[in-house]
């Protein structure tokens, strides 16, 4: 019973919050509702018994990603309303509504198959975090490492793209013997 209440509450709130995210004209409101929605999503995960995933969602998404978005928002004037040109609202609602309808219809039908075999079945006595850990570091080790490299690359890319004076070399030796060169460089700066 508790599960049912939690499920309906969470789903109603999530849908409402995400609607605000996509419809609002104010950046601040959109971002705030996005963060809140993500917190509620992690609630979903906890209901579904995916503890580790829920925590990761909170840490990464709500903590890191929303922080990133907040920093990005600082570039822009938050008080000014986003002016958006008139898009044909009918088309968008039609597409969105149609896709929702179709997907719901697809999922509402009896699509469960009893022949599906679990590839990496969950183990009963073990906690979810341990379970995830075992599978992650044994079966999914290579994707894990590749994801780590990708994150490294993304970090470097982020630094280069956003940093100041990125056209100048960070490692080249700028010290010179001649005093005039130093003075010239000083003037250049």
């Amino acid at each position: 019973m508790y599960e049912a209440i939690a499920f309906y509450l969470f789903s109603a709130l999530t849908i409402g919050l995400f609607l605000i995210t996509v419809m609002s004209k104010n950046v601040l409101y959109a971002m705030t509702s996005l963060a809140a929605g993500m917190v509620l999503i992690s609630g979903f995960f906890f209901i579904l018994g995916a503890d580790f995933l829920g925590v990761v969602q909170l840490i990464v998404y709500v903590g890191a990603v929303m922080a990133l978005y907040s920093f990005a928002m600082m570039f822009f004037d938050a008080t000014r309303d986003i002016k958006e040109k008139n898009t044909p609202a009918a088309l968008i609602f039609l597409l969105g509504g149609l896709s929702a309808l179709v997907l719901v219809l697809i999922f509402a039908g009896p699509i469960h198959s009893d022949a599906i075999q679990a590839l990496y079945p969950m183990h009963e006595g073990v906690g979810n975090a341990q379970d995830v850990g075992i599978v992650l570091f044994t079966k999914y080790l290579v994707p894990f490492e590749v994801a780590a490299v990708m994150l490294l690359v993304a970090m470097i890319a982020g630094i280069i793209l956003a940093g100041k004076k990125m056209d100048q070399s960070l490692t080249k030796d700028t010290s010179v013997d001649d005093a005039d060169e130093i003075l010239k460089q000083k003037d250049a700066k």
Partner: protein, 632 residues
């Protein structure tokens, strides 16, 4: 022996290719010499083959390679050298060699000298394929080849512009070339239909198979095939109504007229009838029609030659007339006589044309015999040659034409077709008259050319020497008739005169001789002492009818050529340009417009692209849902 066959066949081809290498350069005399030498090689090979066939009586059959081998259709490139084809080979190569040597002298001022030899040798090659082939398809290849080469050669001076019909009945060389080719093409339709009928009913186009199967075919089929093949022969040999191209073909250089329109190409039709004699023997109605048409053409052409003023045109009419004689003989069943007349005629007609070429060369291309006269003083040898040829043509005893023409006329009596006999005899008289009219007006009488400022001179010595074999043959060929009959009737059906005809043969011959001699005497009386113009005669309706070739070319122009041109023009502007081109252009325009419209999709706007992506995704979802529902 097989090597000789290939030499005889391909030496002209090599000559043509060799001359073609120099086609674009200026006159080089060795081109002519090499060409003539190669042609002489071909002649020697043909002569050796003739001796072999004469001696052993065997035919030589070679198959070079397969041409078409598709399902049931099997056509090889095969050649047969039997009595009939070797006769043609010798005639063709001999006359071609002499014409080649003649052309070295005749075309010496022409800047397309090399090109001329290329075309001429190519023609000889096509003719050799025609006569040497062992199946109807090969014959047709040669048939078309000589048509093309004839077109190339008639229109040799293609840069001469068109003039009106009053100025020149042939309008221009290119016009005449087109006329010749198109008329031949029209007749080729008949020939093709004949070939199709034969193949459809027999399953093969090889001569031996066809002639073996022909006696077993149905009468209507045979009649249809024979008639269709004869229509093809009508085009090539210029029988009525497809005869106008032959006289217009005189626009080409004189060696061309000598070779093609006297000795070789126009005899291809007769050769076809002789070759396919098993077929024609079985269709007496078609054969009678051939004979009747031939007789009519003989008379018809001779009538037009009586009043003509153009030197070469008179000789062209006489060719037409003699072709009629050959068809009369072939139609009446006397195939070997037709072949004999073909060979004899080739010699003296070629000699006549070459002599006319000498006169033209001397008179700076002037062709009107009313402007000539008295040329015997400066051109003795040409006078002699043309005299000999004309005597042969008129059928004076001991000359070649006497034996051959007389045999044909006797055949007409022998078959009981007295009407044909009478017409042929009258035509013989007319032939004698117009030949000697032409000779006397050109060489005897007053020297009318002087007031045009022309200074004629005799042709070069080597050319006259080259023409001599023809003159000798024109004199003595007749005496070989008996041995020729003995030789050729091993293959062709033997035709003997009945006993009754044999008894009165001397009388019949005397009748013909009387007509011929009276024709000569009439010409002598009128023209020997010079030209006396008779205005009243020249304006009378029958004179003008004959002079304008019975107005047939004008009729063809008005009722066939012009309407056809109008139809073609209408088809071009209304059908081709409006419908076909419009459709193709329409497709192109449609594609272009589609592209242009689709181009507007590239707005560069990310949101737009996302829209389209969502549309696509939703569409796929819908399709998936529907198909899942349909399956499930």
């Amino acid at each position: 022996m097989e090597g000789l066959v290939y030499i005889a066949l391909f030496a002209p081809f090599a000559s043509s290719l060799f001359a073609a290498l120099f086609g674009m350069t200026e006159r080089k005399i060795f081109v002519g010499i090499v060409a003539s030498t190669l042609l002489a090689t071909s002649f020697i090979a043909s002569a050796m083959l003739a001796f072999y066939v004469y001696g052993t009586g065997n035919a030589i059959h070679v198959t070079m390679m397969d041409w078409i081998s598709a399902g049931d259709l099997h056509i090889p490139f095969g050649f047969i050298v039997d009595q009939v084809s070797v006769t043609m080979m010798v005639v063709v190569t001999l006359v071609s060699t002499i014409v080649h040597i003649y052309s070295i002298g005749y075309m010496d001022h022409d800047k397309s000298f090399n090109r001329f030899f290329s075309y001429l040798s190519a023609f000889v090659f096509s003719m050799m394929i025609l006569v040497m082939s062992d199946n109807f398809a090969g014959l047709f290849i040669g048939w078309e080849g000589v048509g093309v080469c004839s077109w190339l050669l008639i229109g040799f001076w293609y840069h001469k512009p068109d003039v009106s019909r009053e100025e020149n009945p042939s309008i221009s060389p290119s016009w005449a070339a087109n006329e010749a080719f198109i008329m031949n093409r029209i007749a080729d339709l008949g020939m093709l239909i004949g070939l199709f009928i034969l193949y459809w009913n027999i399953g093969s186009l090889q001569y031996d198979k066809v002639f073996a199967a022909v006696p077993f075919l149905d009468g209507t089929v045979l009649n249809a095939a024979a008639l269709a093949l004869f229509i093809g022969a009508m085009g090539k040999s210029a029988q009525f109504p497809l005869h106008t191209w032959l006289t217009d073909a005189m626009e080409g250089p004189t060696p061309v007229s000598a070779l093609i329109h006297a000795a070789t190409m126009v005899t291809a039709g007769v050769f076809l009838v002789i070759r396919a004699n098993p077929l024609f023997s079985l269709t007496p109605e078609v054969s009678y029609f051939i004979a009747a048409l031939g007789t009519f053409v003989a008379f018809f052409a001779a009538s037009m030659a009586l009043v003509n003023r153009d030197l070469k045109r008179i000789i062209a009419f006489s060719t037409l007339s003699q072709l009629g004689y050959m068809f009369a003989a072939a139609g009446l069943g006397a195939y070997w006589i037709a072949l004999f007349h073909l060979a004899a005629h080739a010699f003296f007609k070629a000699l006549l044309f070459l002599g006319a070429g000498n006169v033209m060369h001397a008179m700076h291309d002037e062709l009107d015999i009313f402007k000539m006269g008295g040329l015997k003083k400066v051109m003795k040898w040409t006078y002699l040659y043309m005299g000999i040829a004309s005597l042969a043509l008129a059928g004076i005893p001991f000359f070649a034409g006497f034996f051959s023409k007389d045999a044909i006329i006797e055949t007409a009596w022998n078959e009981g077709t007295i009407v044909l006999w009478a017409i042929l005899v009258i035509t013989a008289g007319m032939t004698a008259f117009y030949s000697f009219r032409q000779v006397f007006l050109t060489f005897e009488g007053d020297e009318r050319y002087k007031k045009y400022g022309i200074h004629p001179h005799e042709m070069y010595g080597y050319v006259l020497v080259a023409m001599s074999p023809l003159a000798i043959l024109a004199m003595v060929a007749g005496f070989g008739m008996k041995s020729f009959e003995h030789f050729v009737t091993k293959l062709l059906p033997d035709y003997h005169m009945s006993e009754h005809t044999h008894h009165i043969a001397w009388f019949l011959g005397l009748v013909v001789l009387a007509f011929a001699v009276s024709g000569i005497l009439l010409a002598y009386k009128k023209y020997y002492h010079g030209l006396k113009r008779d205005e009243q005669l020249e304006n009378s309706w029958y004179y003008r009818l004959l002079a304008n070739q019975y107005y047939i070319p004008v009729l063809y122009d008005e009722f066939i050529a012009k309407p056809y041109a109008m139809i073609s023009n209408a088809m071009w502007t209304k059908v081709d340009m409006k419908i076909v081109d419009a459709t193709v252009d329409g497709i192109a325009k449609f594609l272009y417009k589609t592209g242009d419209t689709s181009r507007k999709m590239q707005t560069g706007n990310l949101s737009n692209y996302l829209n389209w992506m969502a549309v696509g995704a939703v569409l796929l979802l819908v399709v998936a849902a529907i198909s899942a529902a349909a399956i499930g």
